[in-house]
């Protein structure tokens, strides 16, 4: 009802296909037989969370294609199996982009996996996360019903915000079919400045910068160097570049891509890698290992430490949480408190009463 099927500005691809009905039939059957299923997109983010207990898998990559895109509306609607690269290319042709800079972690990355994991790149603190851009979604719930929540408009408070809830739910609350996302114009100009400073100074710097309206769209620190990306109108970017100083980075597009895709040596060399999410002003963490900071200090990457208990304890004291990206851990996502787990299982049950959608993919309990 709220999704149009206009195909203006979208490229036709012979592989585009709407297989929602057959996916729903498969889920209905799984529901009736209580057969757990693993929802599979491009399989680029399998390392996140747990592997899950389902043996049968539901391949959604056949459900692909841009359903509607009108740049003037700042909205794109696409099927979950659409390669992320196709979506970004379609947007770029009209001078627009997904402002949360989703990491790919592989060429096969799909829109569905991007939303299901709610991953965002360096722009996150400045523009928002994947969840912030979700306007609506068509899903299959655990009973095999096709449901539509939200829409293609900027503001919509009719009914609970179940489409946004799908972001970061790892497919445990529904199979994503189509997602409508808000998109934004690409900045007209961009430049990155680097500064030599230690981690304490960098944290202080990030906090101070955050309190002033600088046109900053990424801030990263690694190995004694802070990187600030300035973006916007060329006039304001060059004005900020002058006042902030520092040394200009030559190939900054590649640099930020490497940060986003974890291609910097800190990431590629690490045998164990933890993602620590904290309040940005959190001081240097007293945890062994090599650290990098993204998101103006709100994201700390930790390489070379596999002491799960120690890390979790320390990070909890700071009010943050820790996710393992590489290495061993008894729970890959940060464990939930007892009462929160109870809410989660009840909510899971409300959308997937037979517990067949990606069971165990986030936590062993559901």
């Amino acid at each position: 009802m709220t999704l149009t099927t206009s195909r203006d500005n979208t490229r036709d691809d012979p592989r585009d296909n709407d297989i929602a009905e057959s996916l729903a039939a498969a889920v209905t059957e799984a529901f009736e037989n209580s057969t757990p299923i693993a929802i599979r997109g491009g399989d680029t983010k399998a390392f996140l969370g747990e592997s899950g207990s389902a043996e049968q898998s539901l391949d959604i990559t056949g459900h692909r294609g841009v359903v509607s895109y009108e740049p003037g509306e700042l909205v794109i609607t696409a099927r979950a199996g659409t390669p992320l690269a196709d979506i970004e290319r379609t947007l770029a042709d009209s001078g627009q982009a997904l402002a949360f800079e989703p990491p790919y972690f592989g060429d096969a990355a799909t829109l569905g996996g991007t939303i299901a994991t709610n991953l965002a790149g360096p722009a996150r603190p400045f523009t928002g996360a994947a969840r912030d851009f979700v306007l609506g979604a068509r899903i299959i719930n655990g009973r095999g019903e096709i449901l539509r929540f939200g829409g293609e408009v900027m503001k919509n408070v009719a009914g609970y915000d179940l489409s946004r809830l799908m972001a970061g739910a790892f497919g445990t609350l529904g199979v994503l079919l189509d997602v409508s996302l808000k998109v934004l114009p690409r900045p007209r100009a961009q430049v990155t400045q680097r500064f030599e400073q230690d981690q304490t100074a960098a944290i202080q710097n990030f906090c101070q910068l955050g309190r002033k309206p600088w046109p900053i769209t990424a801030s990263y620190w690694e190995d004694g160097t802070t990187y600030l990306r300035l973006a916007g109108a060329s006039s304001s970017v060059s004005a900020a570049q002058k006042s902030l100083g520092g040394e200009m980075l030559s190939d900054d597009v590649a640099f930020w891509r490497d940060v986003r895709e974890q291609q910097r040596p800190l990431f590629t060399d690490a045998k164990s890698l933890w993602r620590l999410s904290v309040a940005p002003a959190t001081p240097v963490l007293d945890i062994a290992g090599t650290t990098a900071m993204d998101w103006g200090g709100a994201l700390r990457w930790l390489a070379g430490n596999d002491d799960e208990q120690g890390i979790r304890q320390r990070i909890s004291q700071h009010g943050g949480h820790a996710t393992v990206y590489r290495g061993q851990a008894s729970s890959r996502l940060h464990p939930l408190s007892h009462s929160m787990m109870a809410v989660h299982t009840r909510l899971k049950n409300a959308l997937d009463p037979a517990g067949i959608l990606n069971p165990g993919r986030m936590y062993a309990d559901f």
Partner: protein, 503 residues
Amino acid sequence: MNQAASLFDPAEHAERASPPDKPTIIAALQAQLPAEMILTEAEDLRPFECDGLSAYRQVPMIAVLPATIEQVQATMRVCHAMDVPVVARGAGTGLSGGALPLDNGVLLSLAKFNRVLDIDTQNRRATVQPGVRNLAISEAVDHLDLYYAPDPSSQIACSIGGNVAENSGGVHCLKYGLTTHNILQLEIVTVDGERLTLGGASLDSPGYDLLALMTGSEGLLGVIVEVVVKLLPKPELAKVAMVAFDDVRAAGDAVAAIINAGCVPAGLEMLDSPAIIATEEFVHAGYPLDAAAILLCEVDGPAAEVEEDIERVREIVAGCGATDVRISRDATERALFWAGRKAAFPAMGRISPDYYCMDGTIPRKALADVLIGIGELSKKYGQRVANVFHAGDGNLHPLILYDANNPGELENTEAFGGAICELCLEHGGTITGEHGVGVEKIDQMCVQFPAAELTQFHAVKAAFDPRTLLNPGKAVPTLHRCAEFGAMHVHNGQVPFPELERL
């Protein structure tokens, strides 16, 4: 006018086992809370009988005004144990009857939760109690050159708790987002009195995004008792262009053209001719009285960028047939241009005894068509309408002018409002962009959502509140209600909910 009787389908609550009588409930509450926090007499309860949608009134059985989280928990435990429904209330400015009390329920006012608890400059966040007024947050951090971005037009009065419950927007949410984009953490009390923390100090938290689910849930999933909001640095410069058009269609097209050109204004508002005339007479903001529509387009950010963008806006609107463009020269003039917009609601109150503020969102490209459609409906229903709204978001607020003293006029107004909702849906929109469903749009929910979606909503509700004690009868209609509504209301020739037996 008492509409509550027709609003609440008694059958919806009939299965509830008959709860204890009022004195028993009062005694149970008194055992937990100081006596002065419990109001039971008609004259004390009267102030709570309605919210901003004053056509609907109902005095609650009891009102409770707790001052601590523990007292909220105690209240919820008593009500839960006795099966008494609870309606939370912030400032009561809601426009969809969300805080309308129940005659057999407790009205839980969060008015005493009015303190800013913590301002964390380093992390750019503030911890506030739910009854704190929206504007009071920005005022509390003004000296730090920070502010809280969502700015509903009611911001001097509405509470942050109510903002979260409604996922409120404002003039600047085109660029800065809605409430859901500007909060970090919520403390809630569940229906059975348990305390939960949703979200956290970091930019994301483990597990499901319950922060998103709670935002906009209209008091149906839990009571919000503490909110951590994001603070933003004040922009270096803001300028507003006041653009006049002699044709509504040209104004609507200019909105799309601005967005198409790659500009994201901080705010992009539209007033049509009746709204311009009423506000101009009231505040003298300098709006051209002969214009068919004006746009207020605000650009903010680094100074150099603002200068560049406002000139682009000038060129774009000129190309769209603008008859006059004025750009604010300083902060005083900017405030003057906005003064008209901000006074639009009270201005309507001066030209009509009553007005009914509608709320729907449509794709921007449909703006002109829908505005013209509303004009046609206005003729059909024989009632005047003025439009003042968030054009950049496609969020319409038609104000239907009426006089409740004229017999039948309120009913006619509501029918007109319902027709506007459906017009929005026909253009790919939604029945509410920011005011919520409450009791007002409960029937239109049947038009927007099929039975399966509504059933899913009820299942989600049950995960938090299995006995539907929190704000029952609001936001999500029962299928039976929809079937009854459908019986008198056939949409596009299709009977909604054909699978349900008509009662």
